[in-house]
């Protein structure tokens, strides 16, 4: 599997993404600087990492949605390529319209960083196939704006079509229907606030994220 990581000037989980993808694929991902706008042509998976894309002094990800590299990201998604947006990456995917809804300020108003238990809501996706159905995992979360909101009809559609990938156990941020991560219609674009790339073993984040990368490897 060929992978790439988009690097915005304020991305700060780009190295974490790089390490996780290298560990999963055995190959270093292409690190694509936001100004360059070019994804390697044979990229299978693009990861949009966490961080503060352009400082995010405006709504998180709002400026990133107009970055030169986004056109390529959209084209990649339209071709049926895999996209994984984590944290700020999820916010950016919502701002670009690749995923529905938006991420608002946590209801507790504070930044929250903790190990977060999640349920696997669907194993019928390229990102979650390796997990047991109805399973429970713990990923670190670290965000200030992770409160997922969308119209009731959109939420109904997401649930009806099995597009809710992860749900929070003990909702940390007020997200509608405890939604922690959703996939696109074709199941190939995943946006999520929790950090699977910080749960790949060897440190405090645990190793529950390995299943997500294993799922991707099997899918490719």
């Amino acid at each position: 599997m060929k992978t790439a990581v988009i690097v915005f000037p304020g991305s700060n989980c780009d190295r974490d993404a790089q390490v996780a993808l290298r560990q999963a694929t055995g190959k270093a991902p292409a690190m694509v600087w936001h100004k360059d706008g070019e994804l390697p042509s044979d990229t299978d998976l693009v990861m949009v990492p966490g961080g503060f894309s352009y400082g995010d002094y405006l709504r998180c990800g709002a400026m990133a949605a107009y970055s030169p590299v986004i056109a390529q990201l959209k084209a990649h998604a339209e071709r049926g390529g895999y996209v994984l947006g984590v944290c700020n990456g999820f916010q950016i995917l919502c701002e670009t319209g690749l995923l529905p809804g938006a991420l608002m300020r946590n209801t507790g108003l504070n930044f929250v960083c903790r190990p977060q238990r999640l349920t696997i809501e669907t194993t019928n996706s390229a990102f979650t196939r390796a997990y047991p159905s109805g399973g429970e995992v713990s990923f670190p979360i670290a965000h200030h704006d992770g409160n997922y909101v969308a119209e009731g009809t959109v939420l109904d559609q997401l649930e009806g079509n099995g597009r809710v990938a992860f749900r929070y156990i003990d909702n940390p941020n007020g997200s509608a229907r405890n939604i922690a991560g959703i996939v696109s219609d074709n199941g190939r674009v995943l946006g999520m606030m929790p950090h699977p790339e910080r749960a790949i073993g060897g440190h405090e984040g645990g190793a529950d994220g390995l299943g997500l990368f294993d799922s991707l490897m099997a899918a490719a």
Binding site: P9, G10, N12, R15, A20, F111, C113, H203, E204
Partner: protein, 768 residues
């Protein structure tokens, strides 16, 4: 249109002693100034003298005493005097670290004050070529009941998180305490640790004449003018009006600056570099000139400016954040500009280094400053302030106090008092995991954070420590204890302690009793550093922490760094298993002087509380080194140092971290001087005494005999390894001793957790 001739006239206007006085320069210093300069200064020059001679920049009250610190051992590459300290961690790599205060700004504007404190300390570290890998903070607030405390906590925590989280450096450890002595003057001390290759370390020294001076980062605005002077003055009510002197942080720009500087540092373009911190362009250019023994000439019109009509005075004294100054090697300007363009950062050549030894500044084509460099730095005032020996306290007389009715209630009260209560509400607001190398953080209530050295199986252990009530009770012994506890904490996770950074927070040094605290605390710390081979490699002094004539409790904070050679050989609080035997290393005498028990339960805070526990440094070293050896040999499951609240609180924290219960037999647990005349053995002494050099271990029973044998061989005092107690499946803490008043005390873990975790969130959610 800007009236440039009016500005020049104002800048060049000759200043007198009265004007100097308004700049915080006293009569003695004025004499010194005009003697060195051989004329009166103009306004720009006076401004420059005033900031460079401020306490904050010149260390004029502490310099002669700081020289008592040991600053070298086999690992030290760079000690005090540069932007940060540098230690050898093997494999051609170095750890670079420093702690610095942002006390006054954080009191005036807590969010930005704390945020820019983090930004400043990060710059100190990456200026030297290190990628920052960890942040730590030591916070001290006023009494929780003080009307300002809650909003200060909220603002400072949000500011630290807002900056560190955005920059993408994990905040892995810290400490937070509350005391009425900080009501009008909180302490915000931030530490950064970075990682560099030893052949890519950059210094402020080394600049030679004839090279371009390169300004990078944010534009210069009017913010923070005279911040260094403010940080050197006492506060009085109404000082919130100083808000314009607090800088505003932009962590996004800092992130860009880190990446751009590290990218440039990978090339061979930089001769010397200094961040623009306190006193901004003034101190950064003076430091580089002074350390290089050269002069500088700068054209201030070339300085990127955020506002129009700025004067030379404002440009030189601005403390706008996220700026760096470097001296480039010849011909590297284009390369450097190209890299900073990539990150959309301003980057301009603003002058040249010279061989004149003078700082020459021009604005609108006119010379507005021409002064010799050495009097600003090396030759700055250096005072031997009068000081008085602190008065020793009489021993705490416990005879007038009854034994508590219920030891369980005492434990709950201690574990939920503001200083001991869980700080989860704080550290959950900090990203502790970004960079993917945090092996253990505040999350485990641990002795020290463990941060992996990226791409290796090694790690750094990091801790910050200070027990102000000990230092207040006896500055010398308290000073020793601060360093000893850092040594113990690092050892308790399996790290070899290497060096410390210090952040000395005290009151007004012009008061002889405060100066006495400073002198004796430094001497105590220095003795500990020497005996433990644990030198000071960087630091910061923050004086004049007073409000309306009342000084803060003396608070010399240290940040300790140790090396873990093999991540498979570490220990934390968390690993205790049911059936594990509990062992206590070290001797229990039951010292309750200046203890948390004395303050929280007996209500003694001050003279009456008695002296702090003495620290025997040889014992400290022997016990800590022994525990490290046990960890290296894989003989222990969980380790916790015994400090505030004694062994009862240490055991409680170990139980909370593992989610297990425990059973502790006080009688067989301790090497107790039951007949000690001045104390007399009572259960409260055993449970809550704060004797130093002690460490609690949970070990598999089948390893206990080996540990006993090793302890005997090492001459380490150790409790009865099979009778002390054990970790239980029942989620309950049980302390028993049929020979004392205690008999048996049971505290359910759930109740303990609720008390320990509940205090801070409940406090923060209250509405005034």
């Amino acid at each position: 249109m800007i009236d440039t001739s009016a500005i020049i006239a104002a800048m060049q206007a000759e200043q007198d002693e009265a004007s100097a006085n308004e700049h915080g320069i006293n009569a003695e210093e004025w004499d010194r100034l005009i003697t060195r300069l051989r004329r009166n200064p103009n306004l720009v020059e006076l401004g420059i003298y005033s900031v460079m001679w401020s306490e904050h920049c010149s260390y004029k009250s502490s310099r002669r005493h700081l020289s008592k610190f040991p600053t070298k051992n086999a690992h030290v590459i760079q000690g005090p005097g540069e932007n940060a300290g540098v230690i050898d961690i093997g494999d051609g790599q170095a750890a670079i670290f420093k702690m610095e205060s942002h006390n006054h700004p954080s009191y005036i504007e807590p969010y930005q004050g704390a945020a820019t404190g983090v930004g400043g300390i990060l710059r100190d570290v990456f200026t030297m070529g290190a990628r920052p890998i960890a942040l730590v903070n030591a916070l001290r607030f006023g009494d929780p009941s003080h009307p300002k405390t809650r909003s200060l906590v909220a603002g400072v925590v949000a500011g630290i998180g807002g900056y560190g989280n955005c920059v993408g450096v994990p905040t892995v450890a810290g400490e937070t305490e509350f005391h009425k002595g900080y009501n009008g003057n909180i302490l915000v001390n931030a530490m950064a640790v970075g990682l560099a290759d030893q052949d890519k370390i950059f210094y402020a020294r080394g600049a030679t004449p004839g090279n371009p001076i390169f300004y990078v980062g944010s534009k210069t605005g009017r913010d923070g003018i005279h911040g260094a002077t403010m940080a050197s003055a006492e506060f009085s009510e109404g000082d919130e009006d100083n808000r314009p002197t607090v800088q505003v942080g932009d962590p996004f720009t800092e992130k860009l600056l880190i990446e751009a500087c590290l990218e440039l540092m990978a090339t061979d373009a930089i001769q010397a570099i200094q961040d623009m911190g306190a006193a901004g362009l003034t101190s950064s250019s003076v430091e580089m000139a002074d350390k290089g023994g050269i002069g500088v000439e700068m054209d201030l019109d070339k300085v990127p400016q955020r506002e129009t009509g700025m004067t030379a005075y404002e440009i030189m004294l601005s403390e706008s954040q996220e700026r760096m100054l470097m001296v480039l090697k010849p011909g590297k300007e284009a390369l450097a500009k190209q890299i900073f363009d990539k990150y959309d950062l301003d980057a301009e050549v603003i002058g040249m280094t010279t061989d004149t030894g003078h700082m020459v500044l021009k604005q609108f084509g006119e010379v507005v400053c021409d002064i010799p460099v050495p009097p600003l730095a090396e030759d700055a005032p250096n005072y031997d302030r009068p000081w008085v020996e602190p008065t020793p306290r009489a021993p705490l007389d416990l005879s007038q106090f009854d034994e508590p009715d219920d030891y369980g209630e005492v434990l709950l009260k201690l574990m939920s008092c503001p200083d001991m209560a869980s700080k989860r509400w704080i550290w959950e607001q900090y990203d502790r995991h970004v960079m993917g190398d945090t092996v253990d953080s505040s999350q485990s209530m641990g002795n020290a954070a463990i941060v992996r050295i990226h791409g290796t199986h090694k790690a750094l252990a990091i801790t910050s420590d200070c027990t102000p009530r000990y230092v207040a009770a006896d500055p010398y012994e308290g000073g020793k204890q601060v360093v000893a506890e850092a040594y113990r904490n690092l050892s308790a996770v399996g790290a070899r302690p290497i060096a410390i950074t210090d952040n000395l927070n005290f009151g007004n040094p012009e008061r002889p009793e405060v100066m006495g605290q400073i002198v004796k605390a430094i001497e105590g710390m220095a003795e500990a550093c020497g005996t433990l081979d644990f030198p000071v490699v960087s630091g910061n002094v923050s004086l004049y922490n007073e409000t309306d004539g009342v000084g803060i409790p003396p608070t010399p904070v240290v940040g300790g760094v140790g090396l873990i050679e093999d991540l498979d050989k570490v220990a934390t609080l968390k690993g205790a298993q049911p059936g594990d035997a509990l062992i206590l290393i070290g001797e229990t005498k039951g010292h309750l002087g200046a203890s948390l028990y004395a303050r929280e339960i007996l209500g003694l805070d001050g003279e009456d509380a008695g002296p702090p526990p003495p620290v025997d440094l040889a014992t400290e070293k022997r016990n800590a080194d022994f525990v490290r050896e046990l960890i290296e040999r894989g003989l222990v499951n969980a380790v916790h140092d015994v400090s505030d609240g004694g062994v009862a609180c240490a055991a409680a924290e170990m139980a909370l971290a593992s989610g297990r219960g425990l059973l502790l037999d006080l009688d067989s647990a301790f090497v107790i001087h039951k007949e000690h005349e001045s104390i007399g053995y009572r259960a409260k002494n055993a449970l809550f005494g704060e004797d130093q050099h002690r460490i609690l271990l949970a070990v598999s029973p089948h390893k206990a005999e080996e540990i006993l044998a090793l302890a005997n061989a090492a001459g380490v005092q150790i409790s009865d390894v099979l009778g002390t107690g054990n970790i239980t499946v029942e989620r309950e803490l049980s302390f028993f001793d049929v020979n004392s008043e205690i008999r048996i005390v049971n505290v359910p873990l759930s109740r303990l957790r609720k008390a320990h975790e509940g205090w801070l969130p409940t406090y923060m959610s209250k509405v005034d």
